[in-house]
Symmetry: C2
Subunit: 555 residues, 2 copies
């Protein structure tokens, strides 16, 4: 191997393993898009690199390339025009299988080193990645740089750390000596080797291709499974850049670059099911619709399937001693990326008799109005608004806002906004509705996008009970609660344990219910229908590899 | 809690975790049925305790008991006549769900302490358990004491150790401090709680109710999942005694005893599918037929399913520098428990041109005859023979021997033997056949029981290739190889990695291909169709629990 990437990154990997245990704050990838950190020209060079991608072929090295494919359109209003390799699966898969052995035999440390090097190089390209994520997902640039760049890199390294620890937990060689009373002991030499499950398939999502994709991609790669990346046909570029960097580092490390490959399809001719059903596939990671996630879980018995699907996230408001902080915090959470996060709250449960606050008793209507007014104020400056909202990724999401206005009483209407830079950008502000707890059919389904409901309940116990039932039946990734009374908080925590949902308590400062930090916060629990796995824990990596033992009498 | 079982067993648990890492020899449960260890009267008291069980009701404490059920018959020729509680599932399951919270909230350490106490008490009852296992499975007493008693206890503790380590790997509380440049840092207090997946279902097997059952039972229990034990209707007693001890310790520790419950059914009216499909079930462990294992994997999407199914185990003989040792070792492996182990070799691949040995060249026929003669000699003393063979658990297995004689050329005929103590015991010696590698339909399917085949191949590469294809298509839990040449061994090891099968190399002494030692050897790999899991590794426990986080601004 030309370079020992494990030696180069060992300290970082050791630290990463340590913080996944302590859950303290740590990140090796600075989240500020600052010239001081990334280089004076990094911003302009990153933008230029992105622009140079447009309207031309994107090259990757894979056996079986047979033409070009691509249909991306920026939510900011222009075609990307990038043409990716179209690859023949029946040529690609056997080639990847042939390459598996060398990757398997490289061992956990060398694989972790290669993965860490890939992530470091991706980090250097965070500006380019920011533009790529922005113009496929619709995220505003700052968020795209962070969630699509540095935070995704964090999540990738976290998975590598878990994978390295899991594979090296146990001795690879042992001398086993069993006493036999007065006779000589039985002595055996044992050798334990990690093997991958097969090829891995990572199915990317349109909104968070890297943040949701890197954990599975890097967990599979670090455990020895060559990875086929199957991006959403409308969000290819961020993962294409990722695969390009993977291939570059693999090549330098002496491996076949197509150990990480990419299969691009179109909405009209999808190939995901065909890929997922191939018996060579041993691991599948998926983020997306509940419908497709369940199809994978029910049909791909030959593979280990990790899914993150949809859910309905709840906020329970019982009382607050910081009304202003609560409203500001919720306003940001509802606005960020126009509610297109699987962690965005949808249902805000408030007693119909109102709540106690540091500003006195507020009626149900006053609570709903305070939240609506908070969002309106937060988005009153259009430059700030667009820098938080970003753009709507899919036209169907914009349509859903229109269709939802009749589902309840509108307390804040959604507006289309002009973007200061991109005249055709699809920018929408949140729609907030009031509904009654009787309208379970309305608030009880996921309405993906900037659509929130304030729901009048019979009291906080009723609120908690509704949130719990909803999480258990439909799934939930996040819960928030506002209460001044510890007894109420305990009841909410008990419900969170019961429903298997992570809970944020009384958030009023610069931490938001829809954000989680790698190495410390878990994303999803795997304990309710929203996801069958958690990003990232030991369970996420432990079953991506198996151990084969050989033993013989000691010499 | 009356007694702190965790404090009592902490050293044992710490040591157990340590040896699962080093894979050195260790066992806290002495395998010798010796009066010096277990007490002078332990043997007679154990036998008396077993006899006192016969022909009367067996009491367990469970909500929903509605009568009696039981149809066990000893393979040594008499009815056990034990009547177990018949329980109403619709009463039992809600009661177990209500009991879940206290068990969940006890936390990983207290649960591990209770589990270790259960295992210690089971250890003290190893003589009684030996008779119970003997007279349900047909194992001879010495094996029943060890495999059904102490070695099963080892496997149980191993699972508890893995579960404890996995649940306590990560801090349960953390202070997260994120720098914000010149502003105050963001500070959050985070709390992480382990929750179980739900209720667990452990489906017992007729031949190894405890050895194969304890890993799943204790892994689920230690991770907070109340466990329904569903024994094979003909092998209930060993698990009934186990549940009795579990209930006793749970009660003493202040928990509802039915946190471990037992549902007994009959062959005529099985309830396993109904139980497995209940949505309250979060974990299923199964050992048994491939057909039922696959049904569970394909239909129980609501639960985490761990299966150990059937396979075809191979021995590849290329050459040996210890013909006598090889033959003796194989003779014992083929005879032990009349081949009714999922680890017993079935297919012995030998080049049709013969092999080189320390006693000169042997033709294919001479190799087959040497093995047959080795078994014949080993079993020539009838007392020794019956002490190794035990009895045939199921009549269908005895029938299979008869049906198989025409499948090839008989090199050793199976004999029915008289048992020195039990006149109606179902004792059979192994049948050994010669077949040609062309007869893949014959050697390519599992013939459970004392049936082995010596298969003539085109050479060792052909032997290895056939073993590999068989393992990949039908599954295999064990492989053995005999070769004097390291190059051949390397080829066999490469095939083992490819097929995901554990490999024993040149066994000629007191270690046998069909035996594995807890804490050191893995049983099955989870990497081929014989099993989707390994007993025991991190993957076996990691997904039996989930983590729920709560976070709030630091005070």
């Amino acid at each position: 191997m030309a370079q020992d990437f494990y030696a180069k990154h060992q300290q970082t990997l050791d630290k990463a393993i340590e913080v996944t245990r302590t859950r303290e704050f740590w990140s090796p990838y600075p989240e500020m898009p600052s010239g001081k950190i990334y280089g004076e020209n990094a911003a302009s060079e990153g933008e230029a690199a992105f622009k140079a991608r447009l309207n031309r072929p994107f090259e990757l090295e894979m056996p079986g390339i047979e033409g070009e494919i691509g249909e991306e359109h920026s939510p900011y209003g222009f075609d990307l025009g990038i043409r990716y390799p179209r690859v023949d699966i029946d040529t690609l898969i056997p080639a990847m299988q042939s390459s598996l052995k060398a990757w398997r035999d490289a061992g956990p440390e060398q694989r972790a080193g290669v993965c860490a090097e890939i992530l470091e190089r991706l980090n250097r390209r965070s500006f380019e990645m920011g533009h790529a994520v922005m113009h496929t997902t619709g995220q505003a640039f700052m968020m795209a740089f962070q969630a699509g760049g540095t935070h995704a890199q964090d999540r990738g390294l976290e998975a590598v750390a878990y994978a390295l620890e899991a594979q090296t937990r146990t001795a690879s060689d042992a001398r086993w000596v069993k006493p036999q009373g007065k006779r000589d002991p039985l002595e055996m030499d044992k050798h334990f080797r990690v093997i991958p499950r097969g090829l891995a398939l990572m199915i990317g999502v349109s909104t968070f291709p890297t943040w949701n994709g890197y954990p599975g991609l890097f967990a599979s790669l670090a455990t020895g499974n060559p990875v086929i990346v199957k991006p959403h046909p409308h969000t290819v570029l961020p993962l294409a850049i990722t695969v390009e960097v993977c291939q570059q580092v693999l090549r330098e490390a002496g491996f076949d670059p197509w150990i990480v490959s990419m299969v691009v399809d179109t909405r009209e001719a999808p190939v995901t099911k065909e890929l997922a059903l191939r018996e060579e596939i041993g691991v599948i990671d998926f983020t997306g619709s509940s419908e497709f996630g369940e199809w994978l879980e029910r049909n791909c018995h030959h593979a280990q399937v990790y899914t993150e699907k949809a859910g309905v996230n709840s906020i329970v408001i019982d009382s607050t001693d910081n009304l202003k902080g609560m409203v500001q915090n919720l306003a940001f959470s509802l606005s960020l990326y126009s509610g297109q996060m699987c962690t965005t709250p949808q249902d805000i449960f408030v007693p119909r008799d109102g709540i106690e606050t540091d500003q006195g008793h507020l009626s149900f209507d006053e609570v709903a109005s305070a939240i609506a007014e908070g969002v309106r104020k937060f988005l009153s400056d259009n430059d700030r608004a667009t820098a938080v909202l970003g753009a709507i990724q899919a036209p169907v999401t914009a349509d859903r806002i229109e269709e939802s206005t009749s589902l309840g009483e509108v307390v804040l209407a959604s507006e289309a906004r002009e973007h200061p830079e991109f005249e055709n950008a699809r920018v929408r502000t949140p729609l907030i509705l009031k509904v009654d707890s009787a309208d379970e059919d309305t608030y009880g389904r996921e309405l993906f996008g900037p659509i929130a409901m304030v729901i009048a309940t019979d009291g906080t116990d009723d609120s908690i009970d509704r949130a719990r039932r909803l999480a258990k039946s439909k799934g939930a990734i996040t819960w928030g609660v506002y209460a001044s009374d510890e007894v109420v908080l305990e009841r909410m925590e008990a419900a969170a344990l019961d429903a298997g949902v992570s809970l944020s308590v009384n958030l009023t400062g610069g931490v938001y219910v829809n954000q989680t930090a790698a190495f410390s916060d878990y994303h999803a629990t795997g304990a309710n229908p929203a996801a069958n796995a958690c990003l990232c824990d030991s369970a996420f990596v432990a079953n991506r590899f198996r151990v084969v033992e050989t033993r013989r009498h000691a010499a």
